[in-house]
Point group: C2
Chain length 333, copies 2
């Protein structure tokens, strides 16, 4: 785990990066509010998973925290741009116990505030004081734009799934690879690049992060189906109630015909949200199919893949990056 | 004016840049549709003002068209990302005679397709085949991100104006400086950087572009109030009907009290759209106040500023860039 000093250095750098473009423009207040920097503040902030992962990789590769803080800020701000837009796209009105930006200021300002955060993310890298060869800045900026495009492709698939009555496992993995895993991959790749590692080592770290991101999302989907409300912050079965295409449902429908599978098929062939009774019937059917165990096995194959990548490329030899991921990214299902 | 060969080189490069990330993701179809590359195509495309301006500056600075095509693509794609999002923010359902992306696929896909275009814009620069020192790529990418942030700040002001009952000329100029002029400035700056000019010459070109952008927007606002529908593609007085804070209205309310000013004040103190009678009364009042002439004079001061910048910095000595701007950007009011 990173030291408390490193964590507070990051928080200071993040606030400076987010508020350096402070001005009289209306977006300024929205951005400060979103990050909890507005008057009155708030204690409920994000978990900072991605920047902490980035800094952990940088340390593992022999870099200093200071030389990677700009990249850590960039990835956290890019993650927040995606949250601001996702909240509009998903119609979510509350995050961290507060109104989302669009719920407070409307859709138009919400889109625009997210766009601003996207620009500020890249400017955190491009206008940073960290001394770094220009070739490296280009490589880092490029990797972060590729991750952004992959996130959009994944999010587009997820939105499109809403009106589908069948989503294959390949579709699901393609969606999650973009929507979740791309930014974990970028965090690892940028951490290595910030530390001065060469392109092939950085890409290997990216593969390690991508594998963990996939396993993380599957565990998160299991937790969203069977987890306690206290652990997830969401009502039990809320993904099912919203008829989201999560790992359990996709896995069940991808399997051979059975009465239990028919229960799930029938519920997901409808459009619109599921009733509490339908949610309970779907969970019972998923239980009968053994989906929970199948999901844990599937997630484990991704964590094993991360180990294989590390061994093949001789990265994370001390295991510090995977220990961070296991402690902070893996979910107790 | 650029040669037909240069224009068609640009069109080929743009289609390649926009479609290189072609895949099975749903956003691909939306992006192709937006650019008119979908099956069935369309002849109604944008005017390509910004990339043609960029290429004109590059030529004026002794660069080849080929060495600036990637930057020209980047600025046109960035412009289109802003159009896709603006259409959602403004509720516009039609562009170039076709349904806008959000009108066809919904708001969620519309936001996400715009986000994708933003990423693709920067990747056109960062993954380009044009040989260029990395320092220059960083400078160009940075200038384009600064322009994006300035556009967002301007757009945020414009959205905020919708609920205001008074907008000062300073507010208006701040809005237009971001919303319109920042991308004209970036087009000029990137054109010079692509040609290998030094940073101070490139910044001077940026100032020239910014001045023209301001004059352009004022003329465009006059045209939106007094222009023929055929020239604007919009109904006469449509900006007034939507109660937009355009130059004529801001100028009138910024002036001394008078019966004609009161007519405008009274209409703009209301919320919601204006009736055709109110629009006619407002135009008559603006006529009585001499706003049209005042606007033309104000626009001219910006065109004069562009001349002064050119002379002071010894840029555009042949006048080719300003000739392009006068022919393509200035509006016959």
């Amino acid at each position: 785990m990173l030291s408390v000093v490193a964590q507070s250095s990051f928080e200071r750098a993040l606030e400076a990066a987010v508020t350096r473009y402070d001005s009289t423009a209306p977006i300024t207040a929205m951005i400060r509010y979103h990050f909890g920097y507005a008057a009155g503040g708030c204690d409920q902030r994000g978990k900072r998973l991605r920047p902490m992962l980035l800094l952990t990789v940088a340390q593992e590769e022999g870099g200093s925290i200071e030389s990677a803080l700009d990249a850590a800020c960039a990835i956290e701000i890019l993650h927040n741009y995606s949250l601001v837009h996702d909240d509009i796209e998903d119609g979510d009105r509350v995050r961290h116990g507060r109104d989302t930006v669009w719920a407070k200021w409307g859709t138009a300002h919400g889109i625009n505030a997210g766009d601003s955060l996207c620009a500020i993310s890249y400017l955190a890298l491009l206008e940073s004081d960290v001394p770094r060869p220009a070739e490296r800045t280009v490589a880092m900026t490029r990797a972060l734009h590729e991750a952004n495009l992959a996130m959009c492709a994944g999010q587009g698939r997820d939105i499109a799934f809403e009106v589908e009555s069948q989503v294959t496992m390949d579709d699901y993995i393609a969606m999650v690879t973009g929507k979740t895993a791309a930014l974990f991959a970028a965090a690892c790749e940028l951490g290595a690049l910030a530390a001065g590692s060469d392109a092939s080592r950085a890409r290997a770290y990216g593969e390690l992060g991508r594998a963990y991101g996939l396993g993380f999302q599957i565990e998160d989907d299991l937790l969203g189906t069977w987890g306690e409300s206290a652990a997830t912050g969401k009502p039990v079965g809320s993904d099912l109630a919203r008829r989201k295409w999560t790992f359990p449902v996709v896995w069940a429908l991808d399997g051979p015909a059975s009465p239990a599978r028919d229960v799930v098929v029938e519920r997901y062939a409808r459009h619109g949200p599921l009733s509490p009774d339908d949610v309970a019937a779907t969970i019972a059917a998923l239980d009968a199919l053994g989906v929970r165990n199948a999901g844990m096995l599937q997630a484990q194959t991704y964590f094993d893949r991360a180990d294989a990548v590390a061994q093949a490329s001789a990265i994370d030899t001390g295991g510090r990056v995977r220990a961070f991921l296991a402690a902070n990214v893996r979910r107790a299902v």
